[in-house]
């Protein structure tokens, strides 16, 4: 048999990359072009920018706390609310998940596997059912309030508030934050921490100057994997928000149900562009923040 030159020296596209390239072209790129196409056409597939302008201009009257009525941009308000709730959830996931990922990565190998398993298990329960279970916990006559009243605290109104929606998002997407950070942290060399200590760093300094910068790629992909699905969710807000919180995902689903495919595509298109820019900025500033002037 002829001895072949290792492919690694050849460069270019190898055969092993072909199926995936073709697949991505057909089922990732082409669908996105379709979204753009639908977003910029009307029901008869004639070019229009109406769908896009509708997103930015549709207004509705909103009554303030003091009874004054003001005009607001419907979809911009919905989008900002989605972004706000998603951002809060992401920050909570990060603050909660980062220490856990660290603890996990420093545990004994057997314990590590066990912990990863335990984190993944809730994801195997159907997420609709998990959200349903949260309704039982959080409602006014629910388990959480029963516990509160047992300890003599008054009932807390949670379900139907933004807090409930945030709890739902944090719960559902928490594993997506922990796992990427954990997987980066397991690769860190403990000797680096010792070296930093020897060079006069305290614990906080080690965290700030060594651990955090090294774990940044994991943090970024964690942020990515929590922020994106929570911006666009439509089930959690329906169930835990008592139907009172209309998020951008609800708006897209609503337009799809109302058979306004073109406007649904327009909202999706705008959402996609904003998120891509947003994630790009986060990556850029994160890199700047860590590597400073370099």
């Amino acid at each position: 048999m002829k001895k072949t030159e290792p492919i690694s020296r050849k460069g270019g596209f190898g055969i092993s990359l072909m199926p995936y390239s073709a697949w991505s072209l057909l089922f990732v790129i082409v669908p996105l072009i379709f979204v753009a196409y639908y977003a910029f056409t009307d029901d008869n597939f004639r070019f229009t920018t109406e769908n896009i302008t509708r997103f930015f201009t549709a207004t509705s009257a909103v009554e303030g706390d003091n009874g004054t009525v003001s005009e607001v941009k419907t979809y911009v308000v919905i989008f900002m609310r989605s972004l706000k709730l998603a951002a809060i959830s992401t920050v909570i996931c990060l603050v909660m998940g980062y220490p856990l990922a660290y603890i996990m990565s420093r545990a004994k190998p057997r314990a590590q596997k066990m912990l990863v398993t335990l984190i993944m298990i809730p994801m195997w329960m159907n997420f609709l059912i998990r959200t349903y279970a949260w309704m039982t916990i959080l409602q006014d006559t629910g388990i959480f309030n029963s516990i509160l009243s047992c300890v003599g605290l008054g009932p807390a109104r949670i379900i139907g508030t933004e807090t409930a929606v945030v709890i739902g998002m944090v719960y559902d997407y928490f594993p997506y934050m922990v796992l990427p950070i954990y997987s980066i942290m397991t690769k860190m060399d403990v000797k680096l921490f010792e070296a930093a200590r020897d060079l006069g760093c305290n614990s906080f300094g080690v965290l700030k100057r060594v651990i955090f910068p090294l774990s940044l790629p994991g943090v970024l992909s964690g942020i990515n994997m929590v922020l994106i699905p929570s911006v666009s969710t439509f089930y959690i807000s329906q169930k835990l928000g008592n139907g009172k919180f209309f998020l951008i995902g609800d708006a897209i689903e609503g337009q799809y149900i109302a058979n306004n495919l073109h406007f649904a595509a327009a909202i999706a298109f705008i959402l996609m562009v904003i998120l891509l820019v947003f994630m790009g900025l986060i990556k850029y500033f994160a890199a700047k923040f860590v590597y400073g002037g370099e």
Partner: protein, 656 residues
């Protein structure tokens, strides 16, 4: 801080986080043993939901579908993803690399809902291009799942490849290995942990996905999440909790087992780091065997499942109905679909398979059918949607010669406005919207007409419909407005009324009303008459639910029709006829608790006895002069412009 302190605090912290993660699972576990149907009131220990689960063909079928799909998607995306990762790792050109990374990131950065909609648009387009009756099926669903799973595999494998010393492959090849052999001998064992993690992630994501499947699944394949979502008109039963509990213990067992057997290998790999390859010649053989075994198992499973779904050439009937709207064999009831299949084979000597899938709203069903994405043979929508579909030429006229049982339908229910010539429909169930209240909270003197739902005394105890048509309808009936008005000002007036009500509303609900009323979480809500009894059956001890009809309210009929995409009309008609036959019709009426327009049902003595006097009174109170009331109060089809207007009004209400 001492080391032990840090250890202790991190242990406590970990425990707290896991308490949070497992709290809902404990709830699932507990309520799966509930005696009543409620998911919020525990009334006693019982195993009946487990028994039910194993009798519920539709749910088990959905579970099987989900598993088949997840396994197939995992197999394909793992192989393709691993190959792609190797390819990406070899790329030297900066631009190629950047392009591949971007493409890989897109499905991860894109919200599910966009991935779902965009793929649906493509599938429908391609389907139309080839003139296919239905463009969405198992294939499209599989493509969609592979598409969003593969990037996760790549991202797991790529780092392992980067850690690997590429000189090793060259060395292997210098020593006479072919490229393929070098891959199996050197590369694969090194990257195997990444491949396995990637595969597990792909499987998990595929199994749990709802949004993308919602947009890309067709009539032949309903996955578990979609099945659960479509239960949102009726209610999610503890049966689903029982299922979740079983899944929980099975996965727990599998993963624990996997951990116990794997941990030794893994420890070595971790400890030795880069040196793993020195010791790996022995290990690799072992690992290779394991991978091979895994692969064989996967292939066998997939091919087994595929042959049993595609293999036999048999008649297929696609039925699309509301969730929880047919007697399905649970609680020892009649299994309508199974009985039909048996009956058909006995009568006609041919096998028929019924694909039974469910939708959560008329609009949901309409969007799917009108986009040309799916084809169904029998659908059961509500009146106003039937009018719209008939108007748009989406329904086929029925041949009533094939439906002799149509004679048992009460004359009052023939030739209603949505089908004046009586050519498209066979009514399935009908009803009237009424108000349900908790008499332990609400003063019976206040329980008058729609005003109860605007009564400030009961602020934060009131439930309103979470769909625009019904919510505006309630306001319009209250104000004495025309619910089918084509005048925008009328809808604005109703909108004002809903704005006034909004601060009093506890929640906008569909199926959530069951749990909220049963547990006493809310005290007032409007819903379909028959559902009141489902709630009474499960109410908590300190709740006393009562029911009344407001003066003006919604009358509706749900009817069986054949959409124009139907592929076997005669079979569809035979099915409709079967649904009207005594056993099936009575069982369905008993199961859904809705009134039946079928004489064989409401004159059936066992049925009357089973239902009881109170139920019969409430369900059939309007039977004398139904047509007259119906003509005055039913919803009619509105123009797309009107619907768009109402929809944007509804969004406005929701952002307040």
């Amino acid at each position: 801080m001492g080391v032990s302190d840090t250890k202790l605090s991190s242990k406590i912290y970990t425990a707290l986080v896991f308490a949070f993660l497992f709290a809902p699972i404990v709830i699932l576990l507990v309520f799966s043993f509930n005696e009543s149907k409620s998911l919020s009131v525990f009334s006693g220990f019982s195993l009946k939901w487990y028994k039910e689960l194993f009798n519920d063909r539709i749910t088990l079928e959905a579970l099987k579908n989900s598993i088949v799909l997840a396994i197939s998607a995992t197999a394909i995306s793992t192989v393709m993803g691993t190959a792609a990762a190797i390819g990406i790792n070899r790329l030297r050109n900066k631009w190629h690399k950047a392009a591949m990374n971007t493409v890989t990131n897109i499905p991860m950065v894109n919200p599910d809902i966009i991935t779902g909609i965009s793929m649906m648009l493509v599938f429908v387009f391609v389907g139309r291009l080839f003139g296919a009756a239905t463009s969405l099926n198992f294939g499209t669903l599989l493509i969609a799942h592979v598409t969003f799973c593969t990037p996760y595999v790549i991202l797991q494998v790529l780092p392992k490849l980067r850690q690997m010393d590429s000189a090793l492959i060259e060395a292997a090849q210098d020593l006479g290995c072919t490229a393929t052999r070098a891959f199996f001998k050197v590369t694969l064992p090194t990257i195997l942990p990444g491949v396995i993690t990637g595969a597990i992630m792909a499987f998990t994501l595929s199994l749990d996905d709802f949004v993308i499947s919602y947009f890309t699944s067709g009539p032949d394949m309903q996955t578990l999440p979609i099945h659960i979502y479509s239960m949102t008109k009726k209610t999610v039963t503890p049966k689903m909790y029982a299922l979740a509990t079983i899944i929980f213990f099975v996965t727990l067992a599998l993963l624990v087992l996997n951990n116990l057997t794997d941990s030794d290998d893994d420890n070595n790999i971790r400890k030795n780091g880069k040196n793993v390859n020195k010791t790996s010649s022995l290990k690799s053989r072992q690992l290779k065997k394991r991978v091979f075994a895994l692969f064989v198992v996967v292939v066998i499973l997939v091919s087994m499942c595929l042959t049993c779904t595609i293999g036999e050439k048999e008649l297929v009937l696609n039925v699309y109905n509301w969730g929880e709207y047919i007697s399905d064999g649970s609680e020892d009831t009649y299994d309508t679909i199974k009985e039909f299949e048996i009956w058909y084979e006995k009568t006609y000597g041919k096998k028929v398979r019924v694909n039974y899938t469910t939708f959560s709203s008329n609009e949901d069903m309409y969007s799917k059918i009108s986009s040309g994405a799916v084809s169904y043979d029998v659908i059961i929508p509500s009146d106003y949607m039937i009018a719209r579909m008939a108007n748009e030429g989406m329904l086929l006229p029925l041949n009533y010669d094939n439906i002799p049982n149509y004679q048992y339908i009460d004359e009052d229910f023939k030739h209603l406005y949505y089908d004046p010539q009586g050519q498209y429909t066979v009514p399935y169930a009908y009803g009237v919207i009424g108000i349900i209240y908790n008499a332990n909270v609400v003063d019976p003197a206040d329980a008058k007409d729609w005003d109860l739902m605007w009564n400030e005394k009961y602020a934060n105890n009131i439930l309103q419909f979470n769909n625009s048509r019904d919510a505006y309808g309630v306001a319009m009936y209250k104000l004495g407005l025309d619910v089918n008005s084509t005048d925008k000002a009328t809808w604005d007036e109703a909108h004002q009324e809903l704005l006034i009500q909004r601060p009093l509303v506890k929640s906008y609900v569909m199926d959530e009303i069951y749990n909220m009323m049963e547990s006493g979480e809310a005290a007032i809500g409007a819903y379909y008459a028959g559902d009141y009894f489902t709630m009474v059956d499960a109410q908590a001890e300190d709740v006393d639910l009562q029911f009344y009809y407001p003066e003006r309210t919604n009358y509706y009929v749900d009817a069986m029709c054949i959409p124009s995409c139907c592929e076997n009309k005669e079979l569809a008609e035979i099915f409709i006829n079967f649904m009207l036959s005594e056993d099936a019709a009575v069982a369905n009426a008993e199961y859904t608790y809705y009134a039946s327009p079928n004489r064989i049902v409401y004159e059936n003595e066992t049925y009357i006895e089973n239902m009881g006097e109170e139920v019969m009174d409430i369900l059939y109170r309007h039977s004398g002069n139904f047509a007259e009331n119906y003509e005055k109060n039913a919803y009619r089809s509105l123009s797309p412009e009107m619907l768009d207007y109402i929809n944007s009004k509804w969004e406005t209400l929701k952002i307040n």
